[in-house]
């Protein structure tokens, strides 16, 4: 292999790419305009859309009745209580159940034209089931807020920069006191896309679109930037996001009910024992933590030493 040719070709490619990047910088600077200015999410007409939404629920239910009961799930959940057929222009998200484990059976008394599904639980039995829902018909153009309908119930989605949608994992307890929710876990995944490919960039706080109440946020990817406790009974996962023109980002998060090990937000500092220490300056209500304002360069030096050691060792080898 002629390494000189590889050097030349690769060098030319790198210089070409860097040159293109530099020319972009110069043109933006020269003309004082850029497609990459900051913009903020809006409640309507947002350039940010959900392009995918999925929920996987694991639930363990105990039957306290003296006879068999059925734990039922519906193909559609709607905000205004109206049952709609999948694919129509309804006022809320049309969920579609894409998988059940163990396989669910079709209910004899169905309020949903597409059919309701369920599992039989014997008297005194504790049974664990899981099912996955996806939004199968993302409406265009505004997925975040559909029309002027006020969607207030799970699993409809509101604007991610403003609010989230709440529901009770233990609503089954209210609907059917004989069926007791022993544990519940919901893992949600959604994609956000800046649909305007020519700019501007959008930034803002994106809260989890679906948040179960009285539950613990146990996992998130990427790690949540903070947990919004504005709603006292909800740990709302929140991310500080930046989406460049045309960019799509995926977010997943998991809630457990009633118990779980809480996730640590990215900006959460390790607890300081001095926060309430009388010797610290001021009181805790009017003090600020000092931020980490330095990147230790010890490792940088180590990197240089490792390279030098490698070269010296290579000379010895030769």
């Amino acid at each position: 292999m002629n390494y000189n040719n590889i050097y030349l070709i690769c060098s030319a490619l790198v210089i070409l790419v860097i040159g293109l990047g530099f020319s972009n910088f110069v043109s933006a600077d020269t003309f004082g305009q850029s497609n990459d200015q900051q913009a903020w999410m809006q409640s309507t007409g947002s350039t940010l859309q959900f392009t995918y939404l999925q929920a996987t629920i694991h639930i363990t239910v105990h039957n306290n009745a003296d006879h068999a009961m059925f734990f039922k799930i519906s193909q559609q959940y709607t905000g205004d209580g109206t049952v709609t057929v999948t694919g129509t222009n309804s006022s809320s998200i049309d969920w579609s159940i894409i998988s059940t484990n163990p396989s669910a059976i079709r209910m004899v008394n169905s309020i949903n034209p597409a059919g309701d599904l369920g599992w039989e639980i014997d008297s005194g039995q504790t049974r664990s089931v899981s099912f996955t829902l996806v939004e199968n018909n993302p409406p265009a153009p505004w997925y975040i807020q559909r029309g002027t309908t006020n969607n207030t119930f799970w699993p409809v989605v509101n604007d991610p920069g403003l609010t989230a949608t709440w529901f009770l994992p233990n609503e089954l307890n209210y609907l059917n006191p004989n069926l007791e929710v022993v544990s519940w876990q919901g893992t949600f995944f959604f994609n956000l896309k800046n649909v305007v490919s020519t700019g501007p960039r959008v930034e803002g706080i994106v809260r989890a679109p679906i948040v179960p109440l009285n539950s613990v946020l146990t996992a998130s990817n990427p790690t949540v930037d903070y947990i919004d406790n504005e709603i006292a009974s909800a740990q709302t996962a929140a991310w500080d996001v930046t989406l460049y023109p045309g960019q799509t980002k995926g977010f997943s998060y998991t809630y457990n009910y009633p118990n779980g090990t809480a996730v640590t937000p990215a900006n959460r500092q390790s607890p300081s024992t001095l926060i309430n220490d009388p010797s610290s300056a001021g009181n805790s209500s009017t003090t600020l933590p000092t931020q980490n304002t330095g990147v230790p360069w010890g490792l940088f030096v180590v990197g240089g030493i490792v390279i030098a050691a490698g070269i010296i060792y290579a000379r010895v080898l030769r």
Binding site: V14, I18, I275, S280, V295, G303, V306, A308
Partner: protein, 239 residues
Amino acid sequence: MKLSTFFVLVGMIIISLYCLIEVSYYSSAENLSQNSSNTPYLEIPSIGINQPINNKSIDYGIYYDPGSAKPGLGTTAIFGHRTFHGSPFLNLDKLKNGDNITVEWPGIGNVEYSVVNLTVVDPSYRLDVDQGNKLFLITCYPLGSDAQRLIIESNQVKIDPLTTNQKPNTAPPYGIFIILGFFAGGSILSFLYPLKEDQYIIFLATIAITAFLILAYIFPIPPDAIESRLSWFNNLLGV
């Protein structure tokens, strides 16, 4: 591949992580400074600081902590990196009592302060933000370490009407310079590497890392995640 080549590659990756922080910073800073009409500025002539203040993150340069009051309205806290992220507070320790600091804040005016004290505290220190019309500039101490914090305390002297109109950031594209520097350094290293049969490995690694840095320049990566890992390694190694 020889063991020595492996060492060199590890060293290159470590250094590239630092380059990645800086490339992401400069790329983000260029984007942030596009809309400067409402941007406040910090001006300290004695150490050559004249930079915009942001309220987003310390990772984007000089950062105003919204937990404190705005200038002229109470105690203001402003943070900046001592090393990397453009090193806006690199020379903060060179300030002396009596030096002037001006904060140009749209809607408030030019708020002038005079330095009265320099203090070094532990990282767990919490700053009292109920001390009247004062400005605190905070950075890391000593240079190249985050073991302690340097706090510059200054008293408000006066507030003048906003007179200067700062221009958008026209600083050179340092991010591109860093990428070019890494590429040049890696190329030279590969040419000078004593083991001829492994030179192409180092060069290909240089190409790959350079491409990654270019990608980070176009799509900046939030540097805090990289930083926390680097700090963890630093603490682990005790360096």
